[in-house]
Protein backbone atom coordinates (compact mmCIF):
# COMPACT_ATOMS: atom_id res chain seq x y z
CA UNK A 1 0.00 0.00 0.00
CA UNK A 2 2.83 2.30 0.93
CA UNK A 3 4.63 1.51 -2.33
CA UNK A 4 1.46 2.20 -4.31
CA UNK A 5 1.12 5.62 -2.66
CA UNK A 6 4.74 6.38 -3.44
CA UNK A 7 4.28 5.33 -7.05
CA UNK A 8 1.20 7.57 -7.34
CA UNK A 9 3.24 10.48 -6.00
CA UNK A 10 6.17 9.89 -8.31
CA UNK A 11 4.12 9.20 -11.45
CA UNK A 12 3.13 12.85 -12.17
CA UNK A 13 6.77 13.85 -11.76
CA UNK A 14 7.92 11.23 -14.27
CA UNK A 15 5.21 12.26 -16.72
CA UNK A 16 6.18 15.92 -16.24
CA UNK A 17 9.85 15.25 -16.95
CA UNK A 18 9.06 13.12 -19.99
CA UNK A 19 6.72 15.70 -21.46
CA UNK A 20 9.21 18.52 -20.74
CA UNK A 21 11.71 16.79 -22.99
CA UNK A 22 9.23 16.98 -25.82
CA UNK A 23 8.68 20.73 -25.48
CA UNK A 24 9.80 22.85 -28.36
CA UNK A 25 11.55 26.12 -27.74
CA UNK A 26 8.35 28.17 -27.76
CA UNK A 27 6.90 25.94 -25.05
CA UNK A 28 10.10 26.20 -23.10
CA UNK A 29 9.82 29.98 -23.12
CA UNK A 30 6.21 29.74 -21.94
CA UNK A 31 7.04 27.27 -19.20
CA UNK A 32 6.52 29.09 -15.86
CA UNK A 33 9.64 27.36 -14.52
CA UNK A 34 11.67 29.50 -16.87
CA UNK A 35 9.76 32.74 -16.28
CA UNK A 36 13.09 34.59 -16.08
CA UNK A 37 13.76 33.58 -19.69
CA UNK A 38 10.89 35.67 -20.95
CA UNK A 39 12.67 38.91 -20.07
CA UNK A 40 15.58 37.81 -22.23
CA UNK A 41 13.61 36.27 -25.08
CA UNK A 42 13.44 37.99 -28.43
CA UNK A 43 11.05 37.49 -31.30
CA UNK A 44 12.48 37.69 -34.78
CA UNK A 45 9.93 38.57 -37.45
CA UNK A 46 11.46 37.57 -40.75
CA UNK A 47 9.90 38.43 -44.08
CA UNK A 48 11.41 37.03 -47.25
CA UNK A 49 10.57 39.02 -50.39
CA UNK A 50 11.23 38.60 -54.07
CA UNK A 51 11.60 41.95 -55.72
CA UNK A 52 11.47 42.35 -59.45
CA UNK A 53 12.87 45.51 -61.07
CA UNK A 54 10.74 48.41 -59.90
CA UNK A 55 10.76 47.22 -56.28
CA UNK A 56 7.13 46.07 -56.11
CA UNK A 57 7.01 42.88 -54.15
CA UNK A 58 5.76 39.95 -56.18
CA UNK A 59 6.06 37.38 -53.47
CA UNK A 60 6.66 37.31 -49.78
CA UNK A 61 6.73 34.88 -46.90
CA UNK A 62 6.53 35.83 -43.23
CA UNK A 63 7.92 33.81 -40.34
CA UNK A 64 8.37 34.33 -36.62
CA UNK A 65 10.83 32.73 -34.27
CA UNK A 66 11.41 33.21 -30.55
CA UNK A 67 15.00 32.97 -29.48
CA UNK A 68 17.49 34.14 -26.88
CA UNK A 69 20.41 36.51 -27.32
CA UNK A 70 23.28 34.47 -28.71
CA UNK A 71 21.01 31.75 -30.09
CA UNK A 72 20.77 31.69 -33.87
CA UNK A 73 17.80 31.55 -36.18
CA UNK A 74 18.52 30.11 -39.61
CA UNK A 75 16.53 30.85 -42.74
CA UNK A 76 16.84 28.58 -45.74
CA UNK A 77 15.50 29.78 -49.08
CA UNK A 78 15.22 27.10 -51.70
CA UNK A 79 14.54 27.92 -55.33
CA UNK A 80 14.95 26.34 -58.75
CA UNK A 81 18.55 27.35 -59.30
CA UNK A 82 19.41 28.64 -55.87
CA UNK A 83 19.81 27.78 -52.24
CA UNK A 84 20.42 30.48 -49.65
CA UNK A 85 21.23 29.85 -46.00
CA UNK A 86 21.21 32.87 -43.71
CA UNK A 87 21.88 32.55 -40.00
CA UNK A 88 20.74 35.50 -37.90
CA UNK A 89 22.17 35.78 -34.39
CA UNK A 90 21.03 38.60 -32.13
CA UNK A 91 23.34 39.68 -29.32
CA UNK A 92 22.20 41.96 -26.54
CA UNK A 93 24.47 44.98 -26.20
CA UNK A 94 25.11 46.82 -22.96
CA UNK A 95 23.16 49.92 -23.94
CA UNK A 96 20.00 47.89 -24.52
CA UNK A 97 20.38 47.73 -28.29
CA UNK A 98 20.82 44.52 -30.20
CA UNK A 99 23.70 43.62 -32.47
CA UNK A 100 22.32 41.53 -35.30
CA UNK A 101 24.87 39.29 -36.97
CA UNK A 102 23.96 37.76 -40.34
CA UNK A 103 25.96 34.94 -41.83
CA UNK A 104 24.95 34.19 -45.40
CA UNK A 105 25.82 31.39 -47.81
CA UNK A 106 24.55 31.22 -51.38
CA UNK A 107 24.77 28.36 -53.85
CA UNK A 108 23.66 29.42 -57.32
CA UNK A 109 23.53 27.36 -60.46
CA UNK A 110 23.98 29.52 -63.53
CA UNK A 111 22.65 28.70 -66.94
CA UNK A 112 23.55 27.61 -69.54
CA UNK A 113 26.58 25.64 -68.27
CA UNK A 114 24.98 25.06 -64.87
CA UNK A 115 28.12 26.20 -63.11
CA UNK A 116 27.64 26.51 -59.39
CA UNK A 117 28.72 29.68 -57.69
CA UNK A 118 29.20 29.95 -53.97
CA UNK A 119 29.09 33.14 -52.00
CA UNK A 120 29.58 33.61 -48.30
CA UNK A 121 29.42 36.65 -46.06
CA UNK A 122 29.15 37.72 -42.46
CA UNK A 123 27.81 41.12 -41.54
CA UNK A 124 26.56 42.84 -38.42
CA UNK A 125 24.50 45.91 -37.62
CA UNK A 126 23.30 47.41 -34.32
CA UNK A 127 19.52 47.77 -34.25
CA UNK A 128 16.90 49.11 -31.87
CA UNK A 129 13.70 47.38 -30.85
CA UNK A 130 11.28 47.24 -33.77
CA UNK A 131 13.77 48.69 -36.22
CA UNK A 132 13.68 46.89 -39.54
CA UNK A 133 16.86 45.60 -41.13
CA UNK A 134 17.15 44.39 -44.72
CA UNK A 135 19.55 41.71 -45.86
CA UNK A 136 20.19 41.16 -49.55
CA UNK A 137 21.98 37.82 -49.91
CA UNK A 138 22.39 38.24 -53.67
CA UNK A 139 23.61 41.80 -53.39
CA UNK A 140 22.05 45.14 -54.15
CA UNK A 141 23.05 47.06 -57.19
CA UNK A 142 21.21 50.04 -58.57
CA UNK A 143 22.95 49.55 -61.89
CA UNK A 144 21.24 46.22 -62.28
CA UNK A 145 17.79 47.60 -61.54
CA UNK A 146 16.99 47.73 -65.21
CA UNK A 147 17.90 44.11 -65.82
CA UNK A 148 15.24 41.47 -65.86
CA UNK A 149 16.23 39.71 -62.70
CA UNK A 150 14.83 39.29 -59.23
CA UNK A 151 16.37 40.45 -55.99
CA UNK A 152 15.87 38.57 -52.76
CA UNK A 153 15.33 40.60 -49.65
CA UNK A 154 15.11 39.36 -46.07
CA UNK A 155 13.55 41.82 -43.66
CA UNK A 156 14.28 41.24 -39.99
CA UNK A 157 12.57 42.94 -37.09
CA UNK A 158 13.50 42.18 -33.48
CA UNK A 159 11.14 42.77 -30.59
CA UNK A 160 11.22 41.81 -26.91
CA UNK A 161 9.13 38.70 -26.59
CA UNK A 162 7.54 39.71 -23.28
CA UNK A 163 6.10 42.87 -24.81
CA UNK A 164 4.49 40.89 -27.63
CA UNK A 165 3.21 38.21 -25.28
CA UNK A 166 1.68 40.73 -22.87
CA UNK A 167 0.00 42.49 -25.79
CA UNK A 168 -1.45 39.18 -26.99
CA UNK A 169 -2.67 38.33 -23.49
CA UNK A 170 -4.28 41.77 -23.10
CA UNK A 171 -6.09 41.51 -26.43
CA UNK A 172 -7.30 37.98 -25.63
CA UNK A 173 -8.75 39.08 -22.26
CA UNK A 174 -10.56 42.09 -23.76
CA UNK A 175 -12.12 39.81 -26.40
Amino acid sequence: MRRLRLALLVLPLVIGVASAQELDFQDLINDPTFEALIDQALQLNITARVLPPGQNTVWNSESRKVTLPGRSVAVRLVGQNIRIDVVFTPYQEEGGTVLLVAQGQVWLSEAPEHKTRYLTTIQSIPVGWGEKVLFFPLGLSSELDEQQTFAIQLEVEIRPYRELRDKTLRSSTTD
Partner: protein, 185 residues
Protein backbone atom coordinates in the same frame (compact mmCIF):
# COMPACT_ATOMS: atom_id res chain seq x y z
CA UNK B 1 73.81 40.86 71.66
CA UNK B 2 70.93 38.40 71.68
CA UNK B 3 69.74 36.82 68.43
CA UNK B 4 66.24 37.77 67.33
CA UNK B 5 63.26 35.38 67.44
CA UNK B 6 63.58 34.14 63.87
CA UNK B 7 67.30 33.38 64.23
CA UNK B 8 66.75 31.59 67.52
CA UNK B 9 63.86 29.55 66.03
CA UNK B 10 66.10 28.60 63.08
CA UNK B 11 68.86 27.58 65.46
CA UNK B 12 66.35 25.49 67.41
CA UNK B 13 65.33 23.73 64.20
CA UNK B 14 69.07 23.19 63.33
CA UNK B 15 68.69 25.20 60.19
CA UNK B 16 71.74 27.47 60.76
CA UNK B 17 75.02 26.30 59.27
CA UNK B 18 78.41 26.36 60.99
CA UNK B 19 80.14 28.47 62.23
CA UNK B 20 77.02 30.58 63.03
CA UNK B 21 75.25 27.77 64.81
CA UNK B 22 78.27 27.34 67.14
CA UNK B 23 78.30 31.02 67.99
CA UNK B 24 74.54 31.05 68.75
CA UNK B 25 74.96 27.94 70.91
CA UNK B 26 77.81 29.63 72.88
CA UNK B 27 75.62 32.70 73.37
CA UNK B 28 72.59 30.74 74.61
CA UNK B 29 74.77 28.93 77.12
CA UNK B 30 75.94 32.18 78.62
CA UNK B 31 72.61 34.13 78.25
CA UNK B 32 69.81 33.22 80.61
CA UNK B 33 67.16 35.09 78.65
CA UNK B 34 67.96 33.22 75.44
CA UNK B 35 68.03 29.92 77.31
CA UNK B 36 64.51 30.72 78.52
CA UNK B 37 63.37 31.44 75.00
CA UNK B 38 64.85 28.17 73.83
CA UNK B 39 63.00 26.38 76.64
CA UNK B 40 59.73 27.91 75.50
CA UNK B 41 60.32 26.72 71.99
CA UNK B 42 61.16 23.23 73.26
CA UNK B 43 57.97 23.04 75.39
CA UNK B 44 55.87 24.33 72.41
CA UNK B 45 57.25 21.58 70.21
CA UNK B 46 56.52 18.99 72.88
CA UNK B 47 52.97 20.32 73.16
CA UNK B 48 52.39 20.14 69.37
CA UNK B 49 53.81 16.64 69.16
CA UNK B 50 51.71 15.50 72.08
CA UNK B 51 48.38 16.72 70.54
CA UNK B 52 46.61 13.85 68.67
CA UNK B 53 46.15 14.23 64.88
CA UNK B 54 42.58 15.30 64.00
CA UNK B 55 40.34 12.73 62.28
CA UNK B 56 40.01 13.93 58.63
CA UNK B 57 38.61 10.77 57.00
CA UNK B 58 34.88 11.43 57.67
CA UNK B 59 35.14 15.02 56.34
CA UNK B 60 36.95 13.77 53.23
CA UNK B 61 34.22 11.16 52.63
CA UNK B 62 31.47 13.77 53.01
CA UNK B 63 33.11 16.09 50.49
CA UNK B 64 33.64 13.25 48.02
CA UNK B 65 29.98 12.21 48.30
CA UNK B 66 28.77 15.78 47.79
CA UNK B 67 30.89 16.24 44.64
CA UNK B 68 29.84 12.89 43.21
CA UNK B 69 26.12 13.55 43.70
CA UNK B 70 26.43 17.05 42.13
CA UNK B 71 28.14 15.69 38.99
CA UNK B 72 25.64 12.84 38.70
CA UNK B 73 22.69 15.26 39.01
CA UNK B 74 23.98 17.52 36.20
CA UNK B 75 24.65 14.46 34.02
CA UNK B 76 21.11 13.15 34.56
CA UNK B 77 19.49 16.55 33.94
CA UNK B 78 21.38 17.00 30.67
CA UNK B 79 22.65 20.34 29.44
CA UNK B 80 20.75 22.34 26.83
CA UNK B 81 22.49 22.57 23.45
CA UNK B 82 22.03 26.36 23.42
CA UNK B 83 23.60 26.63 26.88
CA UNK B 84 26.65 24.62 25.92
CA UNK B 85 29.74 26.74 25.98
CA UNK B 86 32.41 26.16 23.41
CA UNK B 87 35.79 27.69 23.82
CA UNK B 88 37.04 29.08 20.49
CA UNK B 89 40.39 30.82 20.18
CA UNK B 90 40.04 34.46 19.12
CA UNK B 91 42.10 34.10 15.87
CA UNK B 92 39.91 31.14 14.81
CA UNK B 93 36.73 33.13 15.53
CA UNK B 94 38.10 36.10 13.53
CA UNK B 95 39.02 33.81 10.61
CA UNK B 96 35.52 32.27 10.62
CA UNK B 97 33.98 35.76 10.59
CA UNK B 98 36.17 36.83 7.66
CA UNK B 99 35.25 33.63 5.80
CA UNK B 100 31.54 34.26 6.37
CA UNK B 101 31.85 37.85 5.15
CA UNK B 102 33.77 36.66 2.07
CA UNK B 103 31.11 34.08 1.26
CA UNK B 104 28.40 36.72 1.68
CA UNK B 105 30.26 39.04 -0.69
CA UNK B 106 30.67 36.26 -3.25
CA UNK B 107 26.97 35.49 -3.02
CA UNK B 108 26.12 39.16 -3.52
CA UNK B 109 28.42 39.41 -6.55
CA UNK B 110 26.94 36.22 -8.01
CA UNK B 111 23.41 37.60 -7.54
CA UNK B 112 24.32 40.84 -9.30
CA UNK B 113 25.93 38.90 -12.12
CA UNK B 114 22.85 36.75 -12.51
CA UNK B 115 20.74 39.84 -12.99
CA UNK B 116 22.70 40.67 -16.14
CA UNK B 117 21.12 39.92 -19.49
CA UNK B 118 21.48 36.48 -21.01
CA UNK B 119 24.29 37.30 -23.38
CA UNK B 120 25.83 40.72 -23.89
CA UNK B 121 28.58 42.24 -25.94
CA UNK B 122 30.81 44.75 -24.22
CA UNK B 123 33.31 46.83 -26.13
CA UNK B 124 36.35 47.62 -24.03
CA UNK B 125 38.08 51.02 -24.42
CA UNK B 126 41.08 49.10 -25.76
CA UNK B 127 38.99 47.96 -28.70
CA UNK B 128 38.60 44.40 -27.47
CA UNK B 129 35.10 43.01 -27.73
CA UNK B 130 34.02 40.85 -24.84
CA UNK B 131 31.04 38.54 -24.95
CA UNK B 132 29.50 37.90 -21.55
CA UNK B 133 27.18 35.05 -20.87
CA UNK B 134 25.02 35.13 -17.79
CA UNK B 135 22.09 32.92 -17.00
CA UNK B 136 19.41 34.42 -14.75
CA UNK B 137 17.80 31.03 -14.36
CA UNK B 138 17.05 29.28 -11.10
CA UNK B 139 17.24 25.81 -12.56
CA UNK B 140 20.07 26.19 -15.04
CA UNK B 141 20.63 22.44 -15.37
CA UNK B 142 17.04 21.85 -16.45
CA UNK B 143 17.31 24.69 -18.96
CA UNK B 144 20.54 23.38 -20.43
CA UNK B 145 19.01 19.92 -20.73
CA UNK B 146 16.02 21.39 -22.53
CA UNK B 147 18.23 23.45 -24.83
CA UNK B 148 20.36 20.39 -25.58
CA UNK B 149 17.28 18.50 -26.64
CA UNK B 150 16.56 21.26 -29.17
CA UNK B 151 18.46 21.71 -32.41
CA UNK B 152 21.29 24.22 -32.00
CA UNK B 153 19.76 26.52 -34.57
CA UNK B 154 16.10 27.17 -35.18
CA UNK B 155 15.46 26.84 -38.84
CA UNK B 156 12.91 28.37 -41.16
CA UNK B 157 12.67 26.84 -44.61
CA UNK B 158 11.10 28.93 -47.34
CA UNK B 159 10.48 27.71 -50.84
CA UNK B 160 10.98 30.44 -53.41
CA UNK B 161 8.42 30.90 -56.19
CA UNK B 162 8.87 28.53 -59.08
CA UNK B 163 10.07 29.68 -62.48
CA UNK B 164 12.06 32.51 -60.95
CA UNK B 165 15.67 32.74 -62.00
CA UNK B 166 18.02 34.58 -59.75
CA UNK B 167 21.38 36.14 -60.41
CA UNK B 168 24.08 37.36 -58.11
CA UNK B 169 24.04 41.14 -58.37
CA UNK B 170 26.96 41.94 -56.12
CA UNK B 171 28.20 41.56 -52.60
CA UNK B 172 25.59 40.60 -49.99
CA UNK B 173 24.45 43.69 -48.10
CA UNK B 174 22.77 44.38 -44.79
CA UNK B 175 21.35 47.81 -44.02
CA UNK B 176 18.60 49.49 -42.10
CA UNK B 177 15.25 49.59 -43.89
CA UNK B 178 15.08 53.36 -43.37
CA UNK B 179 18.43 53.84 -45.15
CA UNK B 180 17.35 51.57 -47.98
CA UNK B 181 14.06 53.37 -48.59
CA UNK B 182 15.89 56.70 -48.52
CA UNK B 183 18.26 55.39 -51.18
CA UNK B 184 15.46 54.02 -53.39
CA UNK B 185 13.67 57.37 -53.37
Amino acid sequence: MCPDGELLSAFFDAEIPLPWAERVREHTESCGRCRERLERLRSLRALLHGDPEPEHQPAFERTREALHSRVWRSFKRGRSFWRTRVAVPLPAAAAALVLLLGLGLLLAVATVRLSLPWMTIRRQPTGVTEVQVAAPIKDLEALLRSLDSQPAIQEIVITLPEESTFLIMGEPRMLRAADYHERVR
